[in-house]
Amino acid sequence: MAQNVRAYAAAVGTTVRSIWHGMSVTLSHLLRRPVTVQYPDRTPLPVRDTLPARYRGFLEVDPAICTGCQACERACPINCIAITLEKDPANPKQRLVTQFDIDEAKCMYCGLCVEPCPTGSIQHTREFEASSADLRTLTFRWAEKPFPVYKVAKDATYYPRAPLGSILRPMLEARRWDARGPEFLPPEPPKVTPDAPPRAPGAAGAAAPSRAAAGKEHKP
């Protein structure tokens, strides 16, 4: 509080000076370019291309070199991969992958499925933009059309993988943001065929119902 004329005048002077400087600072910001990057409309590059090379985005499977070994399914700590293998009815020696679903909504992007893959078919891409109205949309079905498993040559050192992201990106772009996604969990039960071999124990889809059934039987 101003106690004398000098302090009173000083208070007025300080007010005027501080407003003078403050107004100038805000005006200078008005005249400068905002630092905001206007994602996603006006980024200098698509953001996925500015990410580090080893960024773990959505998983991508190249069906052309998938051996159907189910190593990724077994490695997944949260069972977000579901694979079903069947015999090709036309060629009994050829096995087909009829279901290869990855629930990216559940996936924790740990990368444990990528490491055991013998051919590098399943890999992380740098894609991450797939917001949608339905969580189920994040279930990616890599065997929408059943594909034959890949036979690895004995001395193979190279696997002809499609460029990373080139399969996933068209899938993402073709998708409407409000599309209804497919159902992932519980996975579809395997088709009951009389000559189908018993499912491998790693296949969660087949194992879970049978365990439940067994539990019921044991109850008195």
Partner: protein, 457 residues
């Protein structure tokens, strides 16, 4: 990693024809609303206001009365709509300017430049539930917004828009403005009390204390141009000033310059604008007196708060900054273009009206921008500081200006050249100050290692 090079969704203009069509449609809609709506309202004000003085030949007295009654009702609707639209556009503009001042972009999703955001906000507010708290005084709670909107809308009766464009040129114009704006305080007090919430009550009490205190410096400072013009009528006060800056009240009298500053600060406080937005200090009081409001009633408080910017600016322009005076167009030019009284005036006269309106609107928008700029610069002050500013600084200064102007008018009557010389000197001083201010601003820009760049809107 081998990513394909050509990627859709890259920056720049939309590439597909559909996207380009959509962008054009958005721009067209924005321009239609942004220019069309205010333009339509301005046009209606220009067309409707002077028609009240027209008496069609051969009409009976009753028919003329009916015509004028209908015209007045339409004009009232136009003016209140104008207030609402201006307040909406002000919200948008303020948010854009605020964003730039904090190095952001701000509204940019709804319409071109985010312009239609205020429409979207209003529609959203109207769709909300109209809540009345269980323990609130329901009648008063519901009634409070009416006081606020009435106090706001009534000021438009005497707000001038141009030479003949005023709903009613009352001979007590300034007193009328000062008294009807006080009605807003009544509404705020009622809102604070009836909400039955401690935040609302604190907000309402603070607002009442603040507005009643600041009425005194505002009234004293408003008396300075009244003394200079010798009238209380808003239009006559503008007519007493000239078109050029050195003929404005604010520059022809050094006391009026100080009075303008005092009046401006007091108006900020009366409009509950930062740095005097204590009644709705969100860090302490949530939203002050409107904490408990929702939906349409909340929208009305919001509308009044932002519409008040126009009212404050227009009053300041009227009292101190020359109003609608157009250079080289004196009262005799208007009279010559008007033609015979009682008839519909010629096209030249309408053109002059539009011209004077443009001058007034440009000045008002300049002051409005100053208010917005202050809001996003200065921090909120404390209650004791607010009171001490009013009673220890503004009231003495306003009173000194009041008394000084009395003596100044004696001097000007004896030596009319004094007003002219002061006008030139103060205008020159203002230009020099503006130069130094701009230089400081440009130095601030370059000190940050940046340059003046107005892109990225």
């Amino acid at each position: 990693m081998n990513q394909p090079a050509a990627l859709p969704g890259a920056p720049g203009a939309p590439t597909s024809p559909a996207a380009r069509r959509r962008a054009r449609a958005v721009l067209g809609l924005t321009l239609a609303v942004g220019v069309g709506l205010p333009g339509l309202l301005f046009g209606l004000i220009v067309a409707l206001t002077p028609l009240r003085t027209v008496v069609p030949a051969g009409w009976s007295e009753g028919q003329v009365f009916l015509l004028h009654a209908v015209g007045l009702a339409v004009l009232a609707v136009v003016l209140v709509t104008f207030g609402a639209v201006v307040s909406g556009i002000t919200v948008w503009w303020e948010m854009r300017v605020f964003a730039r001042m904090s190095s952001r972009v701000g509204y940019n999703r709804v319409g071109a430049g985010g312009f239609l955001q205020w429409v979207a906000d209003a529609v959203k507010l109207l769709l909300k539930e109209d809540l009345v708290p269980a323990d609130a005084d329901a009648v008063l709670f519901r009634a409070a917004p009416y006081f606020v909107i009435v106090g706001f809308a009534l000021t438009f009766v005497v707000l001038p828009f141009g030479e003949s464009l005023v709903a009613a040129d009352l001979n007590v114009g300034v007193l009328y403005v000062l008294s009807v704006t006080a009605l807003v305080v009544v509404g705020i007090l009622i809102a604070g009390w009836s909400s039955n919430s401690k935040w609302s009550l604190f907000g309402g009490m603070r607002s009442a204390a603040q507005v009643i205190s600041y009425e005194i410096p505002a009234g004293l400072a408003a008396m300075v141009p009244v003394l200079m013009a010798g009238t209380l009528s808003m239009q006559d006060m503008i007519r007493a000033q000239g078109a050029w800056p050195w003929e404005w009240n604010v520059f022809t009298n050094p006391f009026a310059l100080v009075a303008f500053v005092v009046f401006f600060i007091a108006q900020l406080a009366e409009g509950n604008r930062t740095p005097f937005d204590l009644p709705e200090a969100e860090s302490e009081l949530v939203a002050g007196y409107l904490s408990e409001y929702s939906s349409f009633r909340f929208a009305i408080y919001f509308l009044v708060e932002f519409g008040n910017l126009w009212v404050m600016s227009a009053i300041a322009v009227t009292l101190f900054l020359g109003g609608w005076q157009v250079p080289f167009v004196g009262p005799e030019v208007y009279a010559a273009a008007r033609g015979a009284p009682g008839s519909i005036p010629g096209a030249g006269w309408w053109g002059l009206q539009v011209l004077s309106m443009v001058v007034f609107v440009v000045k008002t928008l300049a002051v409005l921008n100053l208010i917005v700029w202050i809001r996003w610069t200065l921090p909120r002050i404390r209650v004791d500081q607010m009171m001490s500013l009013c009673w220890k600084y503004l009231v003495p200064f306003a009173f000194a200006c009041f008394v000084g102007t009395l003596f100044w008018q004696l001097l000007v009557t004896a030596a009319p050249w004094a007003a002219r010389a002061t006008g030139y000197a103060l205008t020159a001083g203002f230009l020099v100050t503006a130069f130094f201010f701009l230089r400081l601003t440009l130095r601030n820009v370059s000190a940050a290692g940046d340059r003046v760049d107005l892109t990225n809107w």
